[in-house]
Symmetry: D2
Subunit: 340 residues, 4 copies
């Protein structure tokens, strides 16, 4: 961290600042910049609040040099992380996977949908048993019964299951059921007790970006999980909130290459939530693939108009077949050879 | 809810839609609009996903008629709610209160700061014992020990205490300590398990708007708490996330009169988080008062440069004295008589 | 347009509203909805301000039925518009074109860069002669001399040139020079005198979305041009402004399929401005192609570190070769046959 | 400007960068920071594109030290600027003024409204003759005839008139009519040819913040005007675009104290456009006053339901009387003495 001091900063104020920094356990390297003094802070800069430093009278600007995320940072882990989701399904480092299934687990249609998405090439099955809904009066999910239906589908089809966890008190149930991938939704992207709790497991975590979460905050949320010991984190771009209302969210696909640049963790994209309308899911699934995502999460329902949630954005199995065929071609377009 | 159908909607498709609506347990009133058909949905429209309805082929637009929040809605409760926070401190319905104190409970300075803010006219004491921090490496709060320090200050000064709760597993501790007001922070504005859990108590809840939360979502979060039986909800505007970076957040003071228009619940504003810099807290505290807020939450620290969190936005006790004096005048300016 | 009245709307107030509507030259069709009255407004609803209508005491909500854009609306022009940019280069309706070249026209390097991008497959040449810069102290462009250099490059290479116009007083110069495509930049997306002025020509217009422009506002800007008689409008998504700072803008690729759904006009995407960093341009160029864009606009410079503007986001000619090769494969992936 | 280099930056690359900087006419001061090299750039840093610098391989981060605005910067002009708008009406430096009148000049009602707002205490008259409308089919203003009506009202009432200019070709007309204050609207906040053109006059300019304009961009727009020689710039916060839809814009009142901190120019706030609804104008007018604005711009109409534009946000003259009375009290609350 570097503090650039105001011109004409008083000498005694400077030495006061230096001793303040040293009391926090860091070293303060003062160097004459151009026509201003620069103080370099060496040591554990997480102990310094940059806003506070910048608010001090003699300080003009503060600039972080190092990112606040460490374990998620590609600088310290240049090699892509590959997360093993079970059943031989690996994601990241060149391994591309499609997670598909209904928004909510609703009953026996789960297995029907699961068979279709598997046949089309999906390698992981999604379905929500605990549903975060804006309204307390909306359907809240089947709960444990939904988890059981997912486990039955897994047993028949031999594919990992992905399902959302909202409450730190539910982690034990998810462990008991051996849920393959626990999903943290956008609304819990900064639910720190939950992040810490899933961080104590070794279960892969599909971590969604918050609706107003910056890319850095997503990586800090990953850091919460990793700092507790769980390195199996899969990042997910699912759209952010902006002023545009023609789609449910604004799909920030820039985040895919940016996350790959900043971090070694796999990056998945969710075109279903990012658009909110069935008719836009296919083009945006293809776009996400072309942007270099390591996987997609797509909602598929065999009777969208009767889905218990988010039917507006579900693909039918036939549409999903179409998407999967095109994805193969796009994956070829982004191999190193294709540019040669 | 009203569905406006596309021109030339096929008759059999219309009757299919009508029966779909009826299967959901609602009535469908078809009326010829201008040159399009309109279907009015009567009954429990929470069972209908408006996005799904709008995604149907024959539907052009869907318009909610009634707001999805009921218990928080002024239409059904025209009179202002007054929340009793204990020690005779009431907020709402003309009762204006200032909550002040340090960002974090840090130790024995709490009581020193508390005495000063009380002397200046604050009627409630704030201080964080559990701190939601973007970084897992940042200070996470004193926990139970912090609650105890707050309780000691309360005992000496006879004023209610306000402190943040982040984890549904902590509700019992907060009840045991008889915390007067439980604060739900911006990051937990859609942490539904937490909202439900505090909804099962009768403790007043200071509910902060999420960083990307719409006004409607804030009211839906209140609805989560109220639908569990706790009507003692105080809403709080604390700034939203936008593209502007000169301040920590963008203070949406429009939300104060909008929330008063839509809801009967008291509305508090937090100029400390909404600006992020000490130098902007005073003008924005006055602005929030002039906008008609029922109270303010302000961070005060007697040694901001050594605060354990958010020192950049803390007022000193002397600055706080100044703010409190000006607030009195502004409160007069917005009485009914002042306009006459 | 439909106005949904409040429950218990007073009968005399309703008839007052009806006569107000009729005075504006529209018909008001009153129909009993479910338990509220609905007024359908028939006629030229552009004469009604929906905000004003909604602000009236007895009105609960107002819902537009028809979009305010007419000439740009696919409903009234179901077939894709194909814009002829000269030299046989057509865009839209299945015709895909890549516009490439330096951000600014700087001198003789223009022709060198132009040869390279043409060789790689670009079909149109871009270069700015008039530069909109945030700072008055930054380089403002070569002006007429820059237009002349573009014309020389056109003469040699036989490809249309695309260049930005910022001032309605410059239209005549652009016409005199027979500029093939006039570009309207993001900052002028609602510069209505400029839109009207270029609307009086028949020159194709590359119309960029404003930084905070909604999709509907982009279409209304197109409508301004078209309402003056120029139907040759090419829409361009170039990133919007959000809270994310890791990229220069947030690339809203959702806009590509949304614009295709709402409008018949061709849609181009600009991954250079939408990301702001060279390293992200390639993946996002591919993503835009996969999303179904009718073309791309990409900045290419043979010595980015000496570019006079926007060197940070320029591709080198070698990088551009690589992108062009991959684009071909992606174009195949989105043909109708590829899904079969 | 300071460039912080990556750890292990290659020595030859560093000297290459140094010579690149020097070729731009600046000096490069290299200093060993903590464990990274820092290059301080001395000289005219407007010649350096910070994005480009940051995109270079060996550069980790770039930090501006000085703001890009000079003439608008309080650092170089510590004293508040007072703009003289004619008729003895001065704004800034403790002088508070209220600009009021109809959104559009519509005809003879202008003088009726003008008399009322003057009687209530407004000191400047507003009214739009050239209207920037999202739709080309909406009312576009009376043009010159509207200017004449404003001039007549001015002649009768002896108060300066404020009216919007949208087209650089209209400057001469505005000068001929001796318009007292030319307003630049939000949509033209980065219309640089227009800014330059009004910068060549000495007429006071009321410069509105763009819908997605940062505070720094607003100051850079002021800089455009001032760099041409016109120092009579009044800044105006009128709401920015965010995700919130319950109001027309989000009123960023934080901008008032931030602009006062960064700049010496007067700051006006426009609660009419910032809220969009009559019922919210009064509380937000009071809030803006309490935040320290040097003036307000408020739309007043004596028959809002028949206003030709923006009737939804107009105050009636009676409402305006009420606001003006309360403003007086709030102005007292923010005098230095009130805090003592």
């Amino acid at each position: 961290m570097i503090a650039i001091l105001k011109k004409n900063a008083d000498e005694s104020a400077v030495s006061h600042l230096v001793s303040w920094i040293e009391k926090k356990g860091l070293e303060a390297h003062v160097s004459q910049g151009t026509d201003e003094l620069i103080i370099g802070l060496v040591g554990d800069t997480t102990k310094i609040d940059p806003f506070l430093l910048e608010s001090m009278d003699i300080v003009e600007r503060v600039q972080r040099v190092s990112e606040p995320f460490k374990k998620a940072n590609r600088k310290f882990h240049p090699t892509d992380t590959v997360v093993d989701c079970g059943f031989g399904v690996k994601i990241g480092g060149g391994n591309f996977q499609v997670i598909a299934g209904p928004c909510s687990v609703e009953g026996e249609n789960l297995i029907r949908i699961a068979r279709r998405v598997k046949a089309a090439g999906a390698t992981m099955l999604r379905g929500g048993a605990y549903k975060p809904r804006t309204s307390p009066y909306a359907y809240q999910g089947m709960g444990v019964e939904g988890l059981d239906l997912l486990c039955e589908a897994r047993a028949e089809l031999g594919m990992p299951i992905v399902t959302e966890i909202m409450d730190p008190r539910d982690v034990q149930i998810f462990l008991d059921k051996k849920i393959d991938v626990m999903q943290i939704g956008a609304r819990n992207a900064q639910n720190f007790p939950l992040l810490k709790e899933v961080g104590k497991t070794q279960t892969p975590i599909l971590l969604k970006r918050g609706m107003s979460g910056t890319i850095d905050e997503l990586l800090m949320a990953a850091e919460y999980i990793m700092s507790e010991g769980n390195d199996n984190v899969i990042l997910c771009e699912r759209g952010i909130r902006t002023f545009e209302t023609r789609t449910r969210n604004t799909f920030d696909l820039n985040a895919v290459p940016v996350l790959h640049y900043l971090s070694h963790l796999p990056v998945v994209a969710d075109p279903s939530h990012a658009t909110g309308y069935t008719r836009y899911v296919e083009p945006m699934a293809l776009a996400a693939t072309a942007a270099g995502a390591d996987g997609l999460e797509i909602e598929v329902h065999d009777d969208p108009s009767h889905a218990w949630s988010d039917g507006a954005q579900a693909l039918t199995p036939d549409m999903f077949d179409d998407v999967m065929r095109r994805i193969q071609i796009i994956r070829e377009a982004i191999t190193p050879e294709a540019g040669a």
